[in-house]
Point group: C2
Chain length 407, copies 2
C-alpha cells in the first residue's frame, strides 16, 4: 500500500471498535494498540495497526514522539448560537433567586430568545464562532449545533443560517439541527406555533437543507407529547431524522414517543427510570448524557452507569448553552461523564467519539479504522487515559482533521 502520510511514534492508539453505536459492554471493549502507526490518504484513514506490521510506503512520515492518539471528539449536543449573556441570571441563581423570579425580572431563556431574535447575523455568527473555537481547542472535531433561541419562523431560520455561515469559518465539521425549543408563553398561541413549525418551518428547513435533524424539547414546561408527535410527523414527512430533549425533569413519555419515531438520539435523561432505560436499550437510539448540566445546576445526574449496564448506547455532550451549561470544553464533558455519571474511562471515550457520531447519524467519524475520516488527537502524554483523567487544562497536544493538522 502507498499512503500520502504515515504517522509513527504513537505510544498507544486507542479507538472504539465496530460500526455504528456501541451498546452496553461493547462500549468498554476499545482497541488499544501499543506502538501503533496510522496511514492517511485523501483525508481518510488508509491503515491502522502496530507500526512493525506496516508494509507500505508513504510520501510523508510524521513522528509523534511517543504520544498517544485517540479519535477526535464528537460533541453531539450544543446550543452554540445565542446573543447576549446570562451572567446576571447566573449571579442571581447562585444567590438563591428562584428561576421563576429570574424569568419575571426579564431574565432566563426568554432573555436569550429576545436578544437572539433581535441580533444581527454578524453577531450570531461571531458568537458561535468564538464558542466553537473553544470546543475545537478542547479536542472536538465534529460538533452539532442547534437552533432554538430564535423562536419565530424568521429567527429560527436566521439561527440556522448563522450555523451555515459559521461552518466554513472553523476547521471542525458542523452538524446543524433544528430545535423546536420553547412554546409561546400565551397558551392560546401554542396551536398556531405548532402549525407554523410543522407546515412552514420544518418543510422550509428541509427544502433548504439547513438542518440534518429535527429536535424537540418534550417536558411539562415545554412541548407536550401531542405537540411533539406533530413535530415528529412533520419531520418524517420532510425526510429528516428526529431526536429529542427528554426526561430532563420528568419522565412524561417523551423518550418512548421519540423512540416510536426512530429517533437517532434521546438527550438529557436525568429523570429516566428503569422503564425508560429498558426502552432505550431495546431501541436503535443513542442516549446522550450531559454531565456539565448536572455540575452547573446541581441537579440529578443521568443514570449513565445503569444505562450501559442495561445495554444502552450512551454518548456524552457539553450541551453548551448560556443558561444551564456554560461548558466550553468537549473534553471536560467526557471527563465529567466518569465523575458524574459513573462511566469508566473506556466507556467515556466511546461515548465522546463513536457513540456521539452515531447520535448524529454519522458513521465516518468517531473511530480510527480504514475508511474513516482522519480526525484524531495527539495526547499530551503516552497514555490515552490522560484524555479522560484530566480536569481543566488541556490533554490535547495536537489535533488533525481530515489528516490536516489544525492545532
Amino acid at each position: 500500500m502507498h499512503a500520502e502520510q504515515l504517522f509513527t511514534g504513537i505510544s498507544q492508539l486507542a479507538t472504539p471498535r465496530g460500526r455504528f453505536a456501541l451498546r452496553g459492554p461493547a462500549m468498554r471493549e476499545i482497541d488499544v494498540i501499543p506502538g501503533a502507526a496510522l496511514a492517511v490518504t485523501d483525508g481518510r484513514v488508509a491503515w491502522v495497526g502496530p507500526a512493525d506490521s506496516w508494509r507500505g510506503t508513504s510520501d510523508v512520515i510524521t513522528e509523534l514522539g511517543g504520544r498517544a492518539v485517540v479519535p477526535g471528539i464528537v460533541d453531539p449536543h450544543t446550543h452554540a448560537v445565542w446573543a447576549g449573556d446570562r451572567l446576571a441570571d447566573f449571579e442571581a441563581r447562585c444567590a438563591g433567586v428562584p428561576y421563576e423570579e429570574i424569568l419575571a425580572r426579564g431574565g432566563g431563556i426568554r432573555r436569550t430568545m429576545r436578544l437572539t431574535a433581535a441580533a444581527p447575523m454578524e453577531e450570531l455568527v461571531a458568537g458561535a464562532e468564538r464558542r466553537l473555537r473553544a470546543l475545537i481547542q478542547s479536542g472536538a472535531t465534529t460538533i452539532e449545533v442547534k437552533s432554538g433561541y430564535g423562536g419565530t419562523y424568521e429567527a429560527e431560520l436566521a439561527s440556522l443560517e448563522a450555523i451555515a455561515a459559521v461552518t466554513p469559518l472553523v476547521p471542525a465539521r458542523i452538524i446543524p439541527t433544528l430545535l423546536v425549543h420553547v412554546p409561546p408563553r400565551d397558551t392560546a398561541e401554542r396551536d398556531a406555533y405548532i402549525t407554523m413549525a410543522t407546515e412552514q418551518l420544518i418543510p422550509e428547513v428541509a427544502r433548504r437543507r439547513l438542518a440534518r435533524a429535527v429536535d424537540v424539547f418534550i417536558e411539562r414546561e415545554a412541548f407536550s407529547l401531542a405537540e411533539a408527535r406533530a413535530i415528529f410527523e412533520a419531520a418524517r414527512d420532510a425526510g429528516l431524522p428526529v431526536k429529542a430533549h427528554v426526561d430532563q425533569f420528568h419522565a412524561i413519555g417523551g423518550l418512548e414517543l421519540a423512540l416510536e419515531f426512530g429517533a437517532i438520539s434521546v438527550d438529557h435523561l436525568e429523570a429516566s427510570g428503569a422503564p425508560q432505560i429498558q426502552a432505550l436499550a431495546a431501541s436503535s437510539a443513542v442516549g446522550v448524557i450531559l454531565p456539565g448540566v448536572t455540575i452547573h445546576l446541581g441537579v440529578n445526574a443521568a443514570p449513565g452507569r445503569a444505562m450501559i449496564d442495561a445495554g444502552c448506547a450512551v454518548a456524552v455532550a457539553t450541551d453548551l448553552n448560556p443558561g444551564s451549561a456554560p461548558i466550553f470544553s468537549s473534553q471536560l464533558a467526557m471527563a465529567l461523564a466518569v465523575r458524574v455519571n459513573e462511566l469508566i474511562p473506556a466507556e467515556a471515550l466511546t461515548a465522546a467519539t463513536a457513540n456521539a457520531a452515531a447520535a448524529l447519524g454519522l458513521d465516518d467519524v468517531g473511530r480510527l479504522a480504514e475508511g474513516q475520516r482522519a480526525d484524531f488527537l495527539v495526547v499530551d502524554g503516552e497514555d490515552w487515559r490522560t484524555m479522560v483523567y484530566t480536569l481543566g487544562g488541556s490533554p490535547v497536544a495536537e489535533m488533525y482533521i481530515a489528516g490536516v493538522r489544525v492545532t
Copy 2:
C-alpha cells in the same frame, strides 16, 4: 503622578477590597469599577480608579479594548511535584476497586511516593514545570507548591529543591511549603519519623529557606494530634508559620490544634461541622476549600456557604495532585467553588485572590490597589463574572505579572 504604564479601555475592574483576609460578608463586597484605568510603576499598582479621574501622565498607554480586569488568581494549595502517573489507579477506581486494594496492588499514594523518591531531579522539575504552566495558563499568578511525596529526609529535601529549581522557570510567583504528609506504614517507625521531621527536616528546611510554611496532614489514616503537635512545635521553633490538612474525612481535632498554633490556613474541611466552623470564624486562619476533590472523588463538599455565613475567611485551591485532584486549572477550581460549595461569584473571586493570598501569608497580591504587585488578568469579555461563570475553555485573554504581559 507619573506612571510607567497606564492601562485603559477596562470595561470593569473587579477586585476585593481591604487588607489581609476578608471574612464573611466582606468576601462579597468587592469593588467593581466601570470604565476603569490602572497605572503601574516598577511592577506595582500605582493607581486604580475610574479612567476619567486619572490626572497623571505615563510613558506607555495600553488600551485593553473594553474588557474586564481582575486580580491574578492565587492558587494556595497544590502538590505539583510528583513522578509517575496514577492512570491505572484512576481506571481501577472508576471500575469500583476499593482504595485498599489499589494500595495492595502497589498503587495509590505509596506508588507516587516510591516513584517520586526515585526520580532524578530533572524529572521532578520538568513535571512540576509542565503542571505549573497549565495552572498559569488558567490565570494563576501566584502558586503554592508542597513537598510531601518524597517521604524520607533526602527525598523531601529533593522535592523542595525541585520547587526552588522550577521557580525561575515559570513567570508566576511560587510559594514552597514543606508538607509532612504520609506516616510510615510500619507503626513502629512512626516515632523515628516524627523525630526525623522535627529534629532534622524542619530545622534544615528553615535554615536553607526551602519552604515558607510547614503543613501536616492530620487524619485518622495520617498523623495523629500528638504527632502534629510535635510538628507544629518544631515549626514554631524554626520560625516557620504552620498550616494543615484537616477534617478531610473525619473531624478529629486537627482544625482546633492548627488554630492553637496560629495556622495561616486550614485546608480541606469536607468533614467540618458547626464546632469547627465556629472555631475557624473566631480565628485569624483562612479556610481553604478544594472543590475539585469533591468532583473527582465524588466525596462530600466542604461547607463553604456555611463557613462564610458564620464569618469565616474562605479561599479556594485546585489541590492539584495525581490521586485525588487532577485539576490543571486554578480558574476551574474558582468556578467550581460556586457549583460545589455554594459560594456566590463575588465570594469565589475573593476566595481565589485576596483570601488565597492570605492563606499563604501574603498581603501584596490578590487585590488591585496601590502598592500591590501588578498581577492581573484581562478577561475575554466585558463582564468580570465571566471568570467564574466559565467551565472549561479559558476566560483569560491576557495575563500580566508584575506589570509584564506573560500570555
